[in-house]
Assembly symmetry: C2
């Protein structure tokens, strides 16, 4: 089957592409199309011989959606997004990518009339305001960020195209992915990765929220597994409700630092500085620290075991198993 | 203050304009701009001497939003909409008016930087799927019509522009307005008015839903009063949650016909034919027959007393108080 990934040069996109090209991939990929603003750096990751096209494209430019959604496109992973901090600073860019690009993809799918599987990632940041401990899918989104708002609107639109039979739309609300390798990004939640990545490199890291603040986290390997699982589930699993909350770990900021000390040693934990930034802390506190993900677990989605394991996963996958001296 | 009404040639728009031009209007209108696809038929409705401009404009055409939202526009009633039945038949037209036009208005308000009061009407049709008896504002919209989806998206967008401080956005979810005078419209719920208007004219009327189906109704006078009330409330009433469910009457289809017999006489009730149309009945059954409107009542919005009164209101306001022979 022909598979497309947007945002393919990003952190998740790169890992998803690698997983889809692996010999034991759960999706029988016959061709992979990788799309991002800059062409995803493609190197033959496997010896499976699957053809890969890497394209640098602006998703909302005229004709682009039709170019990348072809009559035989079977699965479309729509990961392209402007993350929370950036979308808050640049409203227009955020809405252009997080909403308009999604709309353009859904419209192209409709015109192809192939009812392709359309996987879209969404976020806990659709929620805001006065929240129960663990909102379930019946709880109304009330976003307090432009990122969350654009995603909440895109969720509704994808569900509508699904209801109309124009795309087999499947939206998954992801916990914050941590530990992220590579550069720090401009997501508000970026510190959850910084404290591991930076301190392991011998640099200080700042936690801009109070120690008691809780986050909803998942590891990159689990997310990639769950993205593929979302695509392999039968259509009937998605027909009545197309937005699904994925499982995650509820972790207190203080406990993240404690885990860092346990797994990487006290010197790493000592490099963490607590400097609450009121505006950012308020934005973090406005999203839930746990979602009711029982439906996802019933559908066979995977959950992580502990934050300690997420740190170990980073050391294993990004540092080759060795903690830097 | 300068006030704009879109959809001003429609059923509610016409009545709202009349109320705003009346000497006892609760809003001190200094200029009224009426906008619709065809120029609203304006005749000097009052002797108050308030200047009125009637414009025929396509709201999503370039420059139109900036033309009708001026630096001194104080209150903007955005009533323009493609109703449910029509939006289901013509998805593109529905989204263009129900979503894109709303977005264009909000964008123009943002550029004017005047934080004008932006009143938008929404609908119980944002809800769908498995519903509690009376969803409150924390219950998640899951629209089962294109009309409901576009309105749910527009609600989120208006709330976001409100959060950003770009418009004093105030969204009210209206019950079905009944009894509507004039021609039958293509709303799915149109029969709730047809059974009164048509049978009073001596024609048969068809109820396309089962007798036990319940609807959530309000009368035109109450809606106009509540639209103006929404605009006169202080900004703080809207700052934490910009979407509000208005009160209504929960009425069973069978009881509508019984009320018709009581108020207009048995011959009228005898002209009603029951012919359930499965697809339409399913769409009607997918929306709630009651909303939790306690917050609106606390904020001083008005509620109707009985469906009998709604029929009497129609006879008084549309038929000059006389039941046709």
């Amino acid at each position: 089957m022909k598979v497309v990934i947007t945002g393919a040069a990003g952190f998740l996109g790169t890992r998803l592409a690698k997983a889809l090209l692996a010999p034991n991939s759960a999706l029988p990929v016959s061709e992979l199309v990788l799309v991002d603003m800059t062409a995803p750096a493609y190197q033959p990751l496997t010896t499976t011989g699957i053809p890969v096209r890497a394209l640098a494209l602006d998703l909302v430019a005229p004709g682009v959606a039709e170019q990348i959604i072809e009559a035989d496109t079977a699965v479309f992973f729509h990961l392209a997004a402007i993350v929370s901090g950036n979308a808050e600073k640049d409203f227009d860019l955020g809405f252009r990518v997080n909403f308009d690009a999604t709309r353009a993809m859904l419209e192209a799918a409709r015109r192809r009339a192939s009812n392709m599987v359309f996987i879209m990632t969404s976020t806990v940041a659709v929620y805001g305001g006065k929240l129960p401990d663990a909102p379930d899918e019946d709880f109304a989104p009330m976003p307090q960020t432009s990122y969350g708002c654009a995603k909440a609107m895109a969720e509704l639109l994808a569900s509508e195209y699904g209801r109309r039979g124009w795309a087999d739309a499947r939206v998954i609300r992801l916990p914050t992915v941590s530990v992220r390798g590579g550069r720090a990004n401009t997501a508000i939640s970026s510190f959850a990765s910084d404290i591991v990545r930076e301190t392991l490199e011998g640099r200080d890291a700042t936690v801009p929220v109070p120690p008691e603040l809780c986050m909803w986290l998942t590891g990159p390997a689990t997310v990639v597994h769950n993205l593929i699982h979302a695509a392999t589930l039968p259509a009937r699993a998605w027909s009545s409700r197309r937005v699904l909350a994925l499982p995650g770990l509820r972790v207190r900021a203080r406990d993240m630092v404690a885990a860092l000390g346990r797994v990487c040693g006290p010197p790493c934990a000592a490099r963490v500085r607590w400097e609450a930034q009121p505006r950012l802390a308020a934005m973090m506190a406005s999203v839930p620290a746990r979602l009711d993900a029982r439906r996802a677990l019933e559908l066979g989605f995977r959950e992580d075991e502990s934050y300690d394991d997420l740190i170990r996963e980073y050391i294993r996958d990004d540092l080759g198993g060795r903690i830097p001296e």
